[in-house]
Symmetry: none
Subunit: 197 residues, 4 copies
DNA sequence: TATGAATGAGGGTTCATTCAT
DNA sequence: AATGAATGAACCCTCATTCAT
């Protein structure tokens, strides 16, 4: 009688989460729709009520991946404190996430592989990372305008920051024992923003 | 049963090259053994005379990928000129390769994805990147010992160098127009090695 | 549980009409219960309130197909005019129907295919066509009894009439431009009933 | 060593025969590729070496169906004896085939159903039946030219012949006991060709 | 009476791998 | 050493049918 809540709004995130987990564990190709359905507590056929196919599931996950990056960045703009402190806190949050579930990195690298060979996937990530860099650039420029000591060029600094974080993440994934993610992040920020001062 | 050594020495590289090309274009999962055999100018069944299965092909490619990194590094040690110049030349060589066939990046990201979820693949890359960092570290340390101006700590510098190059490569792949690979490499080297001086 | 009679009386023909249309367009196998429900303005689940399954829908349609043939024939008995005229008018009516929606022929041929391999379906059509022939036979016999010139044997004439009409319909369906349905019907009737006289 | 015989030439007819049998028994839709493969003594995957899909199998069967009709007709032209005798013998041959495996009629009706809703299938059958009629027409015309008594118009006679045979076949399939196929064929030929003379 | 949501069962197709030659 | 032919094992996806409301 009472208007049932929109099932889609409930199921879609539930499915995406399950898909992300299964994809992370087995890779896009080896992941079975059946496993994803099971992980989402649904039958295979029910899965298809919400996603027309496996590719669409991957595409949706890519969108979410991109959107999540945005969400993370939004927090940076509105934050308090000096530039260095804010970026430090942001890096720490990312590191905590990474450490919590490093296997999700696999999904990211599959996206990169996809992007390296399909313009479609590339576009999504291009926008996300473009936005990412712009956000950092603006952040740095604002700090400079406020009189903070920052560095030579916001744009290059932003690019270097993003690149360094991505690269460090990779090295850490390959050899967690050999890369001090926190220390490296600290030093990176210091070096790129003109010292801990 | 199995082909004599001399025939193997001829076929194996031929096959690996074909495999790399097909894997780059279609991804590990979508690549068909048939396509690879065809690209290598062989029948599917002949392919199996040289590789016991698809996974072994991928593993062999991973080994080659790792070995190639080593080879590249060897050149660094024996080179001439100052540290900065040598690293600059090395970066340039890598950039030229990238620009020549960016699609091969896809293979690299697939390896990373594999590594992120399988200890086996991770090991190979761990060794390669470990070696990579050590090589750079030694290079920097040597330069310092020779009295060149270098920077704070060879180890951290090496890590940062590798990370930055990997990260910049990613950003460039996603948006070649927005990333000045050469300029960024120059600036990176300057910043990390204590200026162009 | 099941709908009251008055609701059934409303829904069943509505559904059958929709089913016939969908079956004609897509064939029995390709037709989806969903499509039929949609064409009938119902939900899929509602469809199942009136028909227990797809086969039953087909069976009901077969019955209707058969019944329609009877209805058509009833008109023949009660009609006015001489035999030749009555049969001519009847043929004309059938031709008009055919021309209006030739695609419904597909349903008929699917019934024939069904009949050719299932005794069940065969029975229904056997009765229908048997009745059909008898009706024509009686008609001819009556005319003969009334003194009309008819022909050698009512039974064979009836059989030939039915066969010819079915065969001409097939040829016309395959190549409407090459078969003059009306002319052929006229000539057929003349030939079988002993001339236009 | 010796050139192995072309496997295709061996397998394709073998598969088509199996497919025809399975399609006849179960209908196009219910027939399983697995069953067809089994009936042909092959694995399902092997089937796909020779036919890209189920539809192609059906299409090939349709072609064969059409080609067979041609082959049957060729015999008519080259035959000996008067027109009436030749057609009688031809009808007899067809009747023998029908009686031997009436279930194959189902395949024919499925083709008709297909033709009634798809221009593609219609074309094939149109050509076949067009050719069929022309062949008969030419036969009749030739006989007339030789001075045999034939009838009013070869073209209409041919059309009527084909239609009658198709129609009679249908009626016989529905009720073998009620239709004397041989007698009807005889009478039909007599009636259409101007008597048994 | 009606439906949106769910599912079990199954089919077509693909492909890594093997075999006979 | 090489291959054309063959196949077992899956997997994606569909759909008739049912259930909860």
């Amino acid at each position: 009688m009472s208007p049932r809540p929109d099932r889609r709004a409930e199921r879609v995130p539930q499915i995406l989460q399950a898909a992300r987990a299964v994809f992370a564990r087995r890779g896009f190709a080896e992941a079975r729709m059946e496993d994803i359905a099971g992980a989402a507590g649904l039958s295979k056929a029910a899965l298809y009520l919400y996603f027309p196919g496996k590719d669409d599931l991957i595409a949706a996950l890519l969108e979410q991946y991109v959107a999540d990056a945005f969400a993370d960045l939004a927090a940076l703009r509105g934050g308090e404190g000096g530039l260095r402190a804010r970026l430090g806190a942001w890096a720490e949050r990312r590191i905590v996430e990474l450490e919590a579930e490093p296997v999700y990195l696999a999904v990211g690298y599959e996206f990169f592989a996809l992007a390296a060979r399909q313009e479609g996937a590339r576009q999504g990530l291009r926008r996300a990372y473009g936005r990412y860099r712009e956000e950092l650039e603006a952040l740095i420029a604002e700090a400079a305008a406020r009189g903070e000591r920052t560095g030579p060029g916001p744009r290059d600094q932003a690019t270097a920051l993003v690149a360094l974080f991505e690269g460090l993440t990779l090295l850490w994934m390959l050899d967690p024992g050999a890369v001090d993610l926190r220390g490296a992040a600290e030093r990176t920020l210091d070096a790129l923003l003109g010292g801990p001062a």
